[in-house]
């Protein structure tokens, strides 16, 4: 309870409002991170009501529900959240459950009668909630809330420290603390700390190594490694909307046909730039295919050419010339249109390391930036050569959820085709895929802000049967799943759609917002065709530039978000290297260390098991303990010479001195380190006169033995006095003996 009524403008009254602001901001941060506005609103209202009941009463914090009621409530909340967590397993469920529990706990604490320490607990819980929110989200709004909340939390904690200090000094009668004299001090200190802490925090942010230990303990949170760049090599449907609307330029591409050398492209024409092939699906995540055994690392120098497919192919070829607008991240794809046959790099600053898989046609380049390359692709439907064909999986694909399979069979059957791949002719697979594509285009709504699926639910199932709204990733995923349900092999392709044609320069400008996902369906052995189930009209409408005020504001927000994503969210080892002034070809000591730690991390990940985790934790604890011991030991040694415990005594005198101290300690008389022996003896004069007298004499002899030159007599006298004290002759009047 904070009793602050007598003074209107006291610190306690101000603190209450700051506390309320911190709590509400924490709940807001949680609801943004979890994309859970309804629960957030309910929690905020309940918390504010509790705060009003307890804090706006006459006694400030003394009203409210009693402790035993709040304890029961806490148990109920704990059970409810526990049940919820068990029912909603999935990536990030534990963090979400914990965050929800924290918010409920804060609300309960706002309703109960409070002591001063309860305010500290509420602040600590709010801090935990911020951490929980940060584990689950990285959005710009969340970042903005943190920017406001962190200094506010710091001020609240400082105010709390003053109030708690007063309560510690006067526990029976807490006194109101005038706010006016404290205000400039608190504001000044807060400013000072922000000014001092910001560069330190920024330095730590920049210097902490990136890329080490990624998912060492698995995907603990849903926001793990979340990057809001438009194109990723992994599509995580559990995260809701992450398709970038940024208009940042990514590539410029130009195309022409061979052998006619006719330029391709124009307004209204779209080309699909293949990036990654994602054919592994699990728990709402599409991830990259395992590289085929035929994939090979290739090192490119300037102008070097590499052919993926050395078989003789006749037909039309398409030449794609790409100029990247920004240094791509590690493992950036080498884009192609259709299936690539060869790649050739332009002028490169240093050699380019690439991995090329001729089976999937996926080319990725690792460290070593090159901004220009040319890719030759086959336009016509020509199957892969025999030696490059993977195992045909038609009819032997893993079954998706029963509802999805039923829907797919129903749609195929409605097209007059047999859903059973064993009976259906292979030639009908293209028709079946076309039917599914049309079904998705006509019956589902395209949106860039789809609702996040429940944690336990399969996102594709949620999209097909519940929300019926989503962006291209949901459409592509649904089509791939439905195709697989009727035995047709299908995979999701992540890349860009080149649609913004610059007539003057005869090339396409590709922006982040052009990121797209579509589907490739295996319609014949070694032949993959492109299908795009995303409604094309709606896709064009969303991609169109908005000119209204709201649209402009939206674009402004988009630009800010782009900066946020570029500078904070997507800050990685490349950004770090650029910021620290190291180019890709200039590995420093830190680079080598990071590289080694990354390799070790990967090696450890591949071999880690629970036992190794326990051993690792144990080793870390032992090392930490040894570190603490070492620091303490060094600190003690450092402090040793200034301790007034006879440091300047000669070694024999020191021995007698230490013996004396041990004798005194056994009698319950601990001489403080700072106090000379003679002064300590003087202090005992009142309570232990005889002992004090003997000690004084012993001290004088010790000093004489050490500082007046060699005097064996003095040392002998001191030793004799020590023995007397030990035997009790020097403590006759000691009341405690």
């Amino acid at each position: 309870m904070i009793d602050a009524r007598p003074i209107a403008a006291d610190l306690q009254s101000r603190f209450r409002w700051v506390l309320l602001a911190v709590v509400l901001l924490g709940i807001l941060a949680r609801s943004i991170a979890e994309a859970d506005p309804i629960a957030g609103l309910a929690l905020a209202l309940a918390g504010a009501a509790g705060w009003c009941v307890t804090e706006l009463s006459a006694a400030g914090g003394s009203r409210g529900i009693p402790r035993w009621v709040s304890s029961i409530l806490l148990v109920v909340v704990l059970l409810a959240v526990g049940v919820w967590a068990v029912q909603n397993r999935g990536p990030g469920a534990a963090v979400s459950a914990f965050s929800l529990f924290l918010a409920a706990l804060i609300v309960v604490k706002l309703w109960e009668r409070r002591q001063v320490r309860d305010y500290g607990q509420i602040l600590m819980l709010s801090l935990f909630q911020v951490v929980g929110a940060t584990l689950s989200g990285t959005s710009l709004l969340l970042g903005a809330i943190l920017v406001v909340m962190v200094p506010l939390l710091a001020v609240a904690v400082m105010m709390y420290q003053v109030i708690a200090g007063s309560a510690r000094a006067h526990p029976e009668h807490p006194r109101p603390i005038p706010a006016a004299p404290l205000r400039p001090a608190l504001v000044g200190l807060a400013l000072l700390m922000v000014l001092a802490a910001s560069p330190i925090a920024a330095a730590i942010f920049v210097m902490v190594p990136r890329g080490v230990g990624f998912q060492q303990w698995g995907p603990v949170t849903r926001a793990a490694a979340r990057r809001t760049t438009a194109l990723t090599d992994q599509i995580d449907l559990t995260r809701g909307g992450l398709i970038s609307e940024s208009s940042a330029r990514v590539l410029t591409v130009s195309l022409h046909e061979e052998p006619s050398h006719r330029p391709l492209g124009g307004i209204g024409e779209r080309y699909y730039l293949r990036g990654f092939v994602l054919d592994t699906y699990g728990r709402g995540v599409w991830s990259r295919a395992q590289p085929s055994p035929l994939s090979e690392p290739v090192t490119f120098d300037s102008g070097q050419f590499h052919a993926l497919d050395r078989s003789d192919v006749t037909g039309r070829m398409l030449i794609l010339e790409v100029a990247a607008a920004a240094v791509p991240p590690v493992d950036a794809p080498i884009f192609s249109v259709y299936r690539p046959r060869s790649v050739e790099f332009g002028q490169v600053d240093s050699t380019v390391q690439a991995v090329i898989d001729p089976v999937t046609g996926v080319m990725t380049r690792s460290r070593g930036a090159s901004l220009n390359y040319r890719v030759r692709s086959v336009i016509d439907d020509i199957p892969l050569p025999e030696h490059l064909r993977p195992v045909d999986r038609r009819g032997s694909l893993p079954a998706p959820a029963p509802r999805i399979a039923a829907l797919a069979r129903e749609q195929v059957a409605q097209a007059g085709l047999n859903p059973d791949p064993a009976i259906r002719p292979r030639e009908d697979d293209a028709l079946a895929a076309r039917r599914i594509e049309a079904y998705l285009r006509l019956n589902f709504e395209y949106t860039l802000r789809p609702p996040a699926p429940p944690i336990a639910a399969d996102p594709i199932e949620f999209f097909l049967f519940d929300s019926r709204r989503g962006h291209c990733e949901y459409f592509a995923s649904a089509m791939a799943a439905m195709c697989r349900a009727v035995g047709i092999d299908a995979r999701v392709i992540a890349g860009y759609v080149a649609s913004e044609f610059d007539e003057d320069r005869q090339r396409y400008v590709v922006r982040e917002s052009n990121a797209h996902a579509w589907v490739e369906v295996c319609t014949a052995p070694g032949l993959w065709r492109t299908y795009d189930p995303t409604p094309p009209s709606q896709l064009s409408r969303v991609a169109a530039r908005q000119t209204s005020i709201l649209g402009r504001l939206s674009q402004l927000f988009d630009r800010i978000e782009e900066s946020w994503n570029a500078s904070v969210v997507s800050f990685d080892e490349n950004s770090q290297a650029r910021l620290l002034g190291r180019g890709p070809g200039e590995p420093g000591a830190l680079d080598r260390l990071l590289s080694w730690s990354r390799r070790a991390s990967l090696r450890w990940r591949s071999t880690s098991n629970p036992l190794s985790l326990v051993l690792f934790a144990f080793a870390a604890l032992v090392l930490a303990g040894a570190g603490v011991f070492l620091v303490r030991f060094l600190w003690t040694r450092r402090r040793g010479p200034v301790r007034a415990s006879g440091w300047a005594l000669s070694p024999p005198a020191r021995a007698v001195h230490d013996h004396l101290l041990r004798v005194l300690r056994r009698r319950g008389l601990d001489k403080p380190d700072w106090q000379p022996l003679s002064a300590f003896a003087e202090g005992l004069r009142g309570s232990h006169p005889a002992l004090a007298s003997a000690l004084r004499a012993a001290a004088a002899d010790l000093y004489a033995a050490s500082f007046r030159g060699p005097d064996p007599g003095a040392l002998a006298r001191a030793a004799s006095a020590a023995r007397d004290i030990e035997s009790g002759r020097g403590r006759a009047e000691s009341p405690i003996s």
Binding site: T134, L135, G137, Q161, V162, G165, V212, G213, Q216, G683
Partner: protein, 395 residues
């Protein structure tokens, strides 16, 4: 050490010297551990998820720790303290100790400072339980005066030496302290309990009781002048005559002779019971002085001659505070007159020589106080019982 009782009552301390800094320390503090734990979780979460917001929060957490340590340490580096103690203290009366805090830092204010005396480790012999003082704010280059309210536990000389100023400001992560040394000795008087008036009317061994013979001050007449003798009341000094002769002259009155009461406290082997005896003696002396008797104290070298008047109580209390005699030895009053009354105050069961009056501590209504250590143990026992009953175990 200067004896605080030597300073005249009501005068400030004779030791205005600022206390010397003895040590500065950073103490481990549970919230600091929690904070460090959160920072470690932040770091691990950031590494595992490569979540840059977590990296940013971790940076802030580390920066907060560094800045917090710097700010609080800088504040305490520039703090000066001076303790102002009262001349005497009394058991069962509030003990107010004033501290003057000066912040010599140029820019950084000091906030949330708690000032406390470092009591001796041997609590059983502690005579004081000083309270804590709190300074919400000491501005840069400013000074504040704060006061702690504690209590004196046992009569006698109490030594004050080390004062610790500590704070957990700004974030409560670490407890920083600076210890000052300012040696002082404080005389703690025994408590003055309300003794029932009836105890002076008791008649042991044929004694008629003091109450019946109590002379009233009315009706006394001037008899003569004589030279001042130590112990005479200042109200009896004839100032004009003293001025004429150049020496202090006291008035003597005729009428019934004022009965003089010698109180002899009897020490006990148990220090707590001896303290109770001293308290009972103080209560009896207070009662007798209020009733108009001249009261003296037979305490050997600390004896106080019988004088009447309420102000005489201070001298009696000071003597009782210093009383530290071996148990069992009842002192003979110096200058005992035949018509003086002797009164012994003893613990029940004590062997007391024949006296006009014997008052035991229980008759005086004075209970034996447990020593501070015993009291602490009792509190601990009670706390353990509370915890056991709270968790459902039998108390």
């Amino acid at each position: 050490m200067p004896d605080r009782a030597q300073t005249p009552p009501g005068f400030p301390s004779l030791a205005p010297e600022p206390a010397q800094v003895v040590s500065r320390r950073y103490h481990l503090h549970p919230p600091g551990f929690a904070y460090a734990g959160v920072a470690v979780v932040l770091f691990l979460g950031a590494v595992n998820g490569q979540n840059n917001l977590l990296f940013w929060l971790f940076g802030l957490a580390a920066a907060g720790l560094i800045v917090s340590g710097f700010v609080s340490g800088a504040v305490l580096m520039r703090l000066r303290l001076e303790r102002i103690t009262p001349p005497v203290a009394q058991v069962d009366a509030p003990l107010a100790i004033t501290y003057r805090l000066r912040n010599t830092a140029r820019f950084i204010p000091a906030l949330a400072l708690i000032v406390e005396e470092l009591t001796p480790q041997r609590q059983d012999s502690s005579r004081l339980a000083p309270g804590r003082a709190f300074a919400a704010h000491v501005p840069a280059r400013g000074e504040v005066t704060v006061e702690s309210t504690g209590e004196a536990l046992r009569r006698g000389h109490a030594d004050l030496s080390l004062v610790r100023v500590w704070t957990t400001f700004p974030f409560g992560l670490m407890k920083k302290s600076v210890t000052f040394r300012q040696d002082e000795r404080l005389l703690v008087r025994p408590p003055v309990p309300d003794v029932p008036a009836s105890v002076l009317g008791l008649r042991p061994r044929g004694y008629a009781g003091l109450e019946s013979r109590r002379p009233l001050r009315t009706g006394e007449e001037f008899h003569s002048l004589r030279e001042y003798a130590p112990g005479d009341s200042t109200r009896r000094i004839a100032w004009k005559a003293s001025a004429r002769r150049g020496v202090l002259i006291s008035r003597e009155h005729s009428g019934r002779h004022l009965p003089r009461l010698w109180i002899t406290p009897v020490a006990d082997p148990d220090p707590a019971r001896t303290d109770a005896v001293a308290a009972a003696a103080a209560g009896v002396a207070s009662l007798a002085l209020r009733r108009g008797l001249a009261v003296g104290l037979a305490l050997g070298t600390l004896s106080v001659m019988p004088i009447d008047g309420p102000r005489h109580l201070a001298a009696i209390l000071d003597a009782l505070a210093r009383w530290d005699h071996a148990p069992g030895a009842a002192e003979t009053p110096p200058g005992l007159r035949p018509d003086d009354q002797r009164l012994f105050v003893a613990a029940p069961g004590a062997s007391v020589p024949a006296a006009d009056l014997l008052i035991t501590t229980d008759q005086a209504g004075v209970a034996v106080r447990p020593l501070p250590g015993a009291r602490r143990r009792a509190l601990l026992t009670r706390a353990v019982r509370s915890i056991r009953s709270a968790v459902g175990l039998s108390a």
